[in-house]
């Protein structure tokens, strides 16, 4: 029994150490989550202005720029680029598997993803089975999605814990350039929407061609349908545009896509940290429970061995008498 007592004691010690680690990871994730959430809120302001400007400019005077700008026109879809945002590290509960599930769902069910949304309408796909390429953010997603498809064209594995605009920029440049060149007819983004510290949902959103509905859902998720504040809107006819409206729309569209992707990346990062925080909290709770059980077993074993020793001694004494 002495041996088993020692075994249990060392087991308790190792569980205690694990508990310390999970507790520390929980606290670290909580701090990182707060930073990501603050970043997501800050970037919303920027997105709001860019969004307002584009809405106002899109139909100015007698020209409909929405029908002219290459990033706003939907083409029948032959080939799709899917960007999936996962994390570099694991131990984050179901965070990565939810994103991966969502991405892999698209491979199995190409009919839905084949349509592009423009305004309130859908542009149907050119073929029932459009081709799909993937861009993966994060080591975790890359490793798993590679098992489902060979079409991974790029992967970004150097995103920091709390991403900055400069980190998301190459992602956006890649998407816009290949869309402009006509390599892809649609670009979609799979990310995790940070609803609250307890609830995160994997979502898929169209980013190119620019879709108002998807933009609104990514940038302003809490509003049912956000109509921008028009109180200080100017009359487009009375305003000056330098060098030209086309140039400005060009910049505004790019900025808007950038802020949409940046927002999604931040939301994903906030979700990752909160998922990890919850996972670590559960692990800490489980460790506490395990320590309690093991302590009980240890005490029982100790008590049993004492009782047996006493009974052995008293039996020996009885034999002597």
């Amino acid at each position: 029994m002495a041996l088993s007592g020692r075994l249990i004691r060392s087991r308790i010690k190792s569980v205690k150490n694990t508990k310390k680690i999970t507790k520390a990871m929980e606290l670290v994730s909580a701090a990182k989550m707060r930073r990501s959430v603050a970043g997501a809120l800050q970037s919303r302001q920027y997105a709001k202005y860019a969004w307002e400007l584009l809405l106002r400019l899109k139909k100015s005077g007698d020209r409909d720029f929405a029908a002219e700008h290459p990033l706003l026109i939907a083409r029948p879809v032959k080939k799709i680029l899917i960007i999936a945002v996962t994390s570099n590290r694991g131990l984050a509960g179901a965070f990565n598997s939810n994103v991966i599930k969502k991405a892999v769902e698209q491979i199995r069910n190409p009919a839905q993803i084949g349509r592009s949304r423009v305004g309130a309408k859908w542009v149907e796909a050119a073929t029932p089975t459009p081709k799909m390429d993937f861009v993966i953010v994060g080591k975790r997603g890359e490793a798993v999605i590679r098992k489902f498809t060979k079409n991974i064209v790029a992967s970004f594995i150097d995103f920091p814990d709390v991403p900055r605009v400069a980190d998301a920029a190459p992602l956006v440049t890649f998407a816009i350039e290949s869309y402009r060149k006509g390599e892809y007819d649609k670009v979609a983004l799979v990310y995790t929407d940070f609803v609250s510290a307890l609830v995160q949902k994997a979502k898929i959103r169209q980013i190119l061609p620019v879709s108002e509905v998807d933009l609104e859902k990514t940038l302003f998720p809490e509003a049912e349908s956000q109509t921008p504040d028009q109180t200080d809107a100017f009359d487009v006819g009375a305003a000056a545009f330098e060098p030209s409206i086309e140039e400005i729309i060009n910049v505004a569209v790019t900025r808007l896509i950038e802020s949409q992707v940046f927002q999604a990346v931040l939301e994903s990062s906030a979700s990752e940290h909160s998922a990890r925080m919850m996972a670590m909290r559960q692990a800490t709770d489980a460790a506490t429970e395990m320590i309690d059980t093991l302590t009980l077993v240890f005490n029982q074993a100790r008590q049993a061995s004492i009782t047996r020793e006493i009974s052995e001694i008293s039996a020996g004494k009885a034999a002597l008498e």
Partner: protein, 143 residues
Amino acid sequence: MLHVSLITPEKVHFQGDADAVTIPTTSGQIQIFAGHMPLVTILAAGELKIIAGGETKFLAVSAGYIEVRPGNKVVVLANSAEIATEIDVDRAEAARERARELLKGKIASEEEYAAVMAMIQKEWARVNIGRKHLSHRRPSIGV
């Protein structure tokens, strides 16, 4: 009185009243006072000055656009903004060198060239503005 907001995707850098703002744009530097007509134009990498009550704030900004709305509202949406005195000149110089190195490498398309040039301009502006506002002045570099 103008109401100026300087916003980047990362944070709201400045929001408040000012007498005038000087803004670098792709068509040259402009200064905006109260009563300016509505205007939308593209921001260039350079130095942005916010003049309020005799004090001037200097910031290095890059890429974006500005909007002058009726009611003396100026909205500057920049990709990045940094207060001049907070620029780490040595690091800005290193960044500029990195950007220049990129130019020597293979450049496949016109868009890529434009992106590299924009990066060089941004870092160049940061270095110059940072130097200009150093507490101990070092000679400025010519362009």
